[in-house]
Symmetry: C2
Subunit: 195 residues, 2 copies
DNA sequence: CGCGTGATTGAAACCCTTCAAGTTTAGTGG
DNA sequence: CCACTAAACTTGAAGGGTTTCAATCACGCG
């Protein structure tokens, strides 16, 4: 698991084994069964998860008991609460969709590791900006796209997730009902699109 | 303008006048008239704007010529493109809604300034996380809320913008039509809600 | 084998959009 | 400062994309 994280970092920055050892002391590994809730609304959390195997998700449950999926986190993705950074409890659930192994990274990991390995500051900056960029695109999609457009967007962006995630969760991520997604898929099939 | 920026920083971190002078060399001030487009889709930009006076917005125009507003930026907010960080042209327009004065901050400002004033790394980290947090909440709203809920959310979160931004832009931000927003407001008036 | 979860399908309902007036407001020039 | 025009907002009626509700089917797992 640590090797996988080292690989991940090395795709983005230059880092020696010694440096990596220096900054991996605070990291723990944990394995979760399927459907394990690791964070619930109202809780505080100082942990960020780096998924090395499996699949996690972040979601809310609204007043009509509807599930709204904010984010999926397959291998090599990050997931965690950000409210606790501001001393506020989280609004969201985080759980596993598949049996999952994840590294548990302390909240201020990159700030502290950056003292030893300065380029991690830049990496942190890049990753956060990338998140914002993707969320901007998602907001743009939610503002403008029809059910069909949303689904086509999804399978283009996450082709592998399309097969791993139950359809009703994809619908929840897209902001449509499972029934609507089913009909969209039926229509697409008639138009000779596949999966 | 610079004083205002200094104030802004000092609300968040401890910084001396000397340190501020050290890091303000790369910053320029610019004043724009109303409705001035400063960035268009397809362009690259290394600038981030810190609004000291006025109001800017980031938006897309989709294939049906519909405007979708991603973000407003009133005083003391940041606005800029993030795609260029990844050597991709932007998808969005950025323009002014009011006559606006803004500081123009180079792309890697916080990374470089952080070398001189280390706590700026932490500030950068905090600000980016805050953006993500707000965007998560917005995504959650777009996934779950009705037109009326969206509007009530907006006026609670941005009470001063409600008066400064034309209604059709608020509608665009909320992902509904101007007509729908007008009807929502009418209904709320009947229920004795004000503005 | 049977139960539960997920996916599909149909029909009706609904919220929101679209289209098309009108009305009000705001900005500009005489 | 008024007059005029364009833009913004309102209102109504019709239409459409999605949702809701309900029933059925498919599948995996104990």
């Amino acid at each position: 698991m640590f090797d996988q994280f080292k690989e991940y970092l090395r795709k983005k920055v230059t880092i020696t084994d010694e440096q990596f050892d220096l900054i991996s002391g605070d990291i723990k590994v944990k394995t979760f069964p399927k459907n394990q809730v690791v964070l619930s609304p109202g809780e505080m959390s100082t942990k960020t998860y780096f998924v090395t195997e499996g699949l996690m998700r972040c979601y809310s449950v609204d007043s009509k008991a509807k599930v709204n999926i904010i984010q999926f986190a397959p291998e090599n993705w990050w997931i965690g609460d950000r409210n606790s950074l501001f001393n506020e409890p989280t609004d969201f659930f985080i759980d596993t969709i598949e049996p999952t192994t994840a590294l548990i990274i302390p909240r201020n990991y990159f700030m502290e590791a950056g003292v030893h390995v300065p380029c991690l500051h830049a990496l942190n900056n890049t990753m956060l900006n990338n998140s914002i960029r993707f969320m901007q695109k998602r907001i743009n999609m939610l503002l403008s796209a029809t059910a069909e457009e949303r689904y086509l967007d999804f399978i283009k962006l996450y082709p592998n997730l399309t097969l791993r995630v139950p359809q009703w969760m994809i619908a929840s991520y897209l902001g449509i009902t499972p029934e609507s997604l089913s009909r969209v898929r039926k229509d697409l099939a008639h138009k000779h699109f596949k999966v």
